[in-house]
């Protein structure tokens, strides 16, 4: 028993080595996808802002049509860049909800006033909790979430014009 105890470091190292050996030479992808895809949205409930109602997990899992959830912030320049595309998505019938990360009500209002407001609901995620829960690696990111609240697709970075049809197709697929 005692002997076994002193062997533990060696065993731990062997496991680590095996793990690294298994990965050696495997190509690593540049884009890292959230491990949350295919899983339900974690529980959350955020206050609304700028006249919009807040956003919670219940809203997403209520059995409605699939929606887009856009993680954004007023301090993020690419978020301003993607605003017209988000508006285009909304104009094409997509329901777009926003989660404002580490932001203040005044700044969000200013941002929406300047760049337009495509959002149906907006949740204020003051501590950036949702980024961790969704497995986001930055802002902006956009998620397709189906009526049962399952995350089906993740779009990293800003939405460019050619991404709009892709996101619409993903919404269709999630129905």
């Amino acid at each position: 028993m005692k002997r076994l105890f002193w062997l533990l470091p060696l065993l731990g190292f062997a496991a680590l080595l095996a793990l690294m050996a298994g990965n050696l030479g495997k190509p690593t992808e540049a884009v890292i996808v959230s491990h949350m895809i295919g899983k339900p949205v974690p529980d959350f409930a955020f206050e609304g802002t700028a006249g919009a109602q807040g956003l919670s997990r219940v809203d997403l899992a209520a059995g409605g049509p699939p929606v887009l959830v856009n993680v954004f912030a007023s301090w993020c320049l690419p978020c301003a860049v993607e605003a017209p595309q988000l508006q285009a998505l909304a104009d094409n019938g997509a329901i777009v909800h926003g989660i404002a990360v580490r932001d203040t009500a005044a700044n969000v209002a200013g941002f929406l006033g300047k760049h337009g407001n495509p959002f149906t609901r907006i949740g204020m995620d003051v501590q950036g909790r949702m980024m961790l829960a969704l497995g986001a690696s930055g802002v902006p990111e956009t998620y397709v979430i189906d009526g049962k609240g399952i995350i089906r697709f993740q779009h990293l970075g800003e939405i460019r014009a050619d991404h709009v049809p892709i996101l619409l197709a993903e919404l269709e697929k999630a129905k």
């Binding site: 470091p9 060696l10 793990l19 690294m20 690593t28 959230s34 301090w75 961790l132 690696s137």
Partner: protein, 645 residues
């Protein structure tokens, strides 16, 4: 010709390493002192030949000898002179040569330093060091030869990655390597200590200076890397929990724990097995860090030679060395026993708590770094573990550690009374409370984490200074007080720059201005300028506070000629603690420029603190080295009471 001489010197150094590892092994086994004594000249020869090889490679870089493949791939005649030299280690082969150079010099250092534990132990240590170097020489000569020729030679080189053409990054690798390799000495002492069964206070006393020196250099190296990332990468942050940063942090954490636990072995002859494990782990983690950086195993900003064959080579080396050391540990650790006992309230137990917390942080970092890989190995998707995970887990532990660091130095060894603590810690407690109140009222800080950070910094700072009051001013006590004070200063810097930071990201035309808190920044102009091997567009931001111009910020977007690559040069203006930090982004095509502006109060304290820590480590090292000198008539006892001057 000179590169060939360098190549030859490298082979001779490898031969010396072979002699250094084999002769003492056989000599100690057969009890032939003449044979085991060969280790000493072999180690010195290894040091000399490696230095010669390194000089040869440096010469090839300085004269831009593009017939050497490594020089052609990494240098350029237009490069400023200083970077011709530092370019030697800004690549895989050259940095590995630097690694073995530091290792060989450390070996020579052990060989010529007084053998306080006797010639037999020194021979054993040198044989372990020889075995470790031998593997790295093999890796250099067979898989990463820096002297490979390129025929026909090109007339011009491909240039050095512009991000690396920077003074901070020029000295960052040597410092890190001195740290890593210093830990290899501790590793050799640990393995030899187990084989020779001499682990005890005298062993700890002989090992500790190496650990302290390595730790100080590692601290400086990491701090410099962090400072470089801060001003060069233009992200406004100073620590990104990037896998490669973690790879350097892990040996540092292990070395920090080792530095403290080895003191317990030295003074109280307790915690032997644990200290041995830490000594093995610290260098093992250094090797793993090197391996991770050079194998392409993890995605990171620190792109290095991504070559699976080299990865396999390094992995076999690691398996041999770490696996070998841990196997010896499994057999020997039971034998060395834990040494003497101590009470629950004592300096020892506080140091054990410190060690446990450091180990928890180490575990958190290790899991965070390896988890993406484990998940991928299990067939899952590729993910990355980001700052939120690390910050949420590590910040609370650091706060608890800061608290303990204030208390521990005031406890006595073995069994401590607690009656004196309240009085001794009163100033620290008052300072902590004051800091929280000031942060809350004057600065309007609201986050509980930030408030605790301010409190912890004040607590630890005052408690560290009061160490001196208790123990008197000796090199050791001053070193410890300074290092702990450094931690407090770094905590203050990290907390304040995070909690009080202001940030603005705007698109502005020349003539536009933005208001950020009390600062008003006006974009005066954007114009092209030229450097030795780059051209840039430079913005001029006039920052005013209350109407007075306080600073002109000059952020640049630089375009290097060879290789063609763009870098951001942050425009900064600061005073001794805080700074204004600006980054010039891309033009949007309509005459607007993207400008990112930060105010980061006290951010510089993060690195000032690290400097204090390293300096404290070196002071304590000075104390140890002095104590190592044999002084007739004065028996260096292990008593914690400083000797009267």
């Amino acid at each position: 010709m000179i590169p060939e001489l360098g190549h030859f010197a490298l082979w001779l150094a490898a031969a010396a390493a072979l002699l250094q590892s084999v002769a003492p092994t056989i000599g100690l086994w057969r009890d032939e002192e003449a044979l085991s004594g060969l280790a000493v000249p072999a180690a010195v020869a290894q040091g000399l030949f490696t230095a010669l090889a390194f000089a040869a490679l440096t010469w090839a870089f300085v004269v831009s000898d593009f017939s050497v493949a490594l020089v052609a791939a990494n240098s350029h005649t237009m490069k400023p002179d200083m970077y011709l030299v530092t370019g030697v280690w800004a690549n895989h082969e050259g940095s590995l040569l630097l690694w073995v150079l530091v290792m060989a010099l450390a070996g020579a250092g052990v060989a010529v330093a007084p053998a306080t534990l006797g010639p037999r132990f020194r021979a054993r240590v040198l044989s372990v060091q020889g075995i470790v170097s031998l593997g790295f020489f093999a890796f250099l000569l067979f898989a990463s030869n820096p002297f490979d020729r390129l025929i026909p030679a090109p007339t011009e080189g491909q240039g050095l990655n512009p991000l690396l053409q920077d003074l901070g990054l020029a000295v960052h690798p040597p410092l890190l390597y001195i740290g890593y390799v210093g830990l290899s000495v501790a590793f050799a002492f640990a393995v030899a200590g187990m084989l020779e069964n001499v682990v005890g206070p005298a062993w700890a006393k002989a090992t500790r200076p190496w650990v302290a020196g390595a730790w100080a250099m590692l601290t400086l190296g990491i701090a410099l890397g962090s400072y470089w990332a801060y001003y060069e990468l233009g992200w406004g942050g100073w620590w990104f929990w990037d896998p490669v940063e973690n790879a350097a942090l892990m040996p540092w954490l292990a070395a920090t724990a080792l530095l403290h636990s080895i003191a317990v072995v030295m003074k109280r002859d307790a915690l032997r097995a644990w200290t041995l494990l830490l000594a093995v782990a610290a260098f093992s983690l250094s090797m793993m860090g090197t391996f991770i950086v050079r194998s392409g195993l993890l995605t990171s900003v620190h792109a290095f030679a991504v070559d699976p064959a080299r990865g396999l080579f390094l992995m076999i080396l690691m398996a041999l060395y770490i696996g070998g050391a841990l196997t010896i540990y499994a057999f020997a650790a039971g034998r060395v026993a834990e040494g003497r006992q101590f009470a629950a309230v004592s300096r020892e137990s506080a140091l054990v708590a410190n060690n446990l917390l450091l180990t928890v942080i180490l575990g958190v970092v290790l899991v965070g770094t390896m988890y993406p890989m484990a998940l991928q190995a299990a067939g899952g998707a590729q993910i990355s573990v980001g700052p939120p995970y690390f910050n949420m887990t590590i910040v609370p532990i650091v706060l608890v550690m800061a608290f303990l660091m204030g208390v521990a130095p005031l406890l006595g060894w073995r069994r401590s009374a607690t009656g004196h603590l309240a009085a001794r810690l009163l100033p620290a407690a008052v300072a902590a409370a004051l800091a929280v109140v000031v942060a809350l009222t004057l600065f309007g800080v609201r986050g509980i984490g930030a408030l605790l950070g301010f409190g912890a910094a004040a607590w630890l700072a005052v408690a560290s200074i009061s160490i001196l009051a208790k123990r008197g001013l000796t090199l050791n006590s001053a070193g410890m007080a300074l290092a702990h004070l450094g931690v407090a200063v770094s905590i203050l810097g990290a907390t304040a720059s995070g909690a009080l930071q202001r940030e603005a990201l705007v698109a502005m035309r020349v003539g536009d201005a933005i208001q950020m808190g009390p600062w008003r920044a006006e974009l005066m102009d954007v114009r092209p300028i030229a450097g030795p091997n780059w051209t840039a567009v430079e913005a001029r931001l006039d920052v005013r506070r209350g109407g007075d111009s306080v600073a002109i910020l000059r952020p640049q977007s630089r375009m290097f000629v060879a290789p063609a690559q763009e870098t951001t040069e942050s425009g900064r203006a600061g005073w001794w603690t805080g700074e204004l930090y600006s980054v010039l982004g891309q033009p949007d095509g309509t005459g607007q420029w993207q400008v990112h502006l930060w105010f980061k109060p006290m951010v510089r304290l993060i690195w000032w603190g690290a400097l204090l820590m390293a300096f404290g480590g070196l002071l304590a090292l000075g104390g140890r080295v002095r104590a190592l000198k044999p002084r007739r008539g004065v028996e260096m006892s292990g008593s914690p009471i400083p000797q009267a001057a």
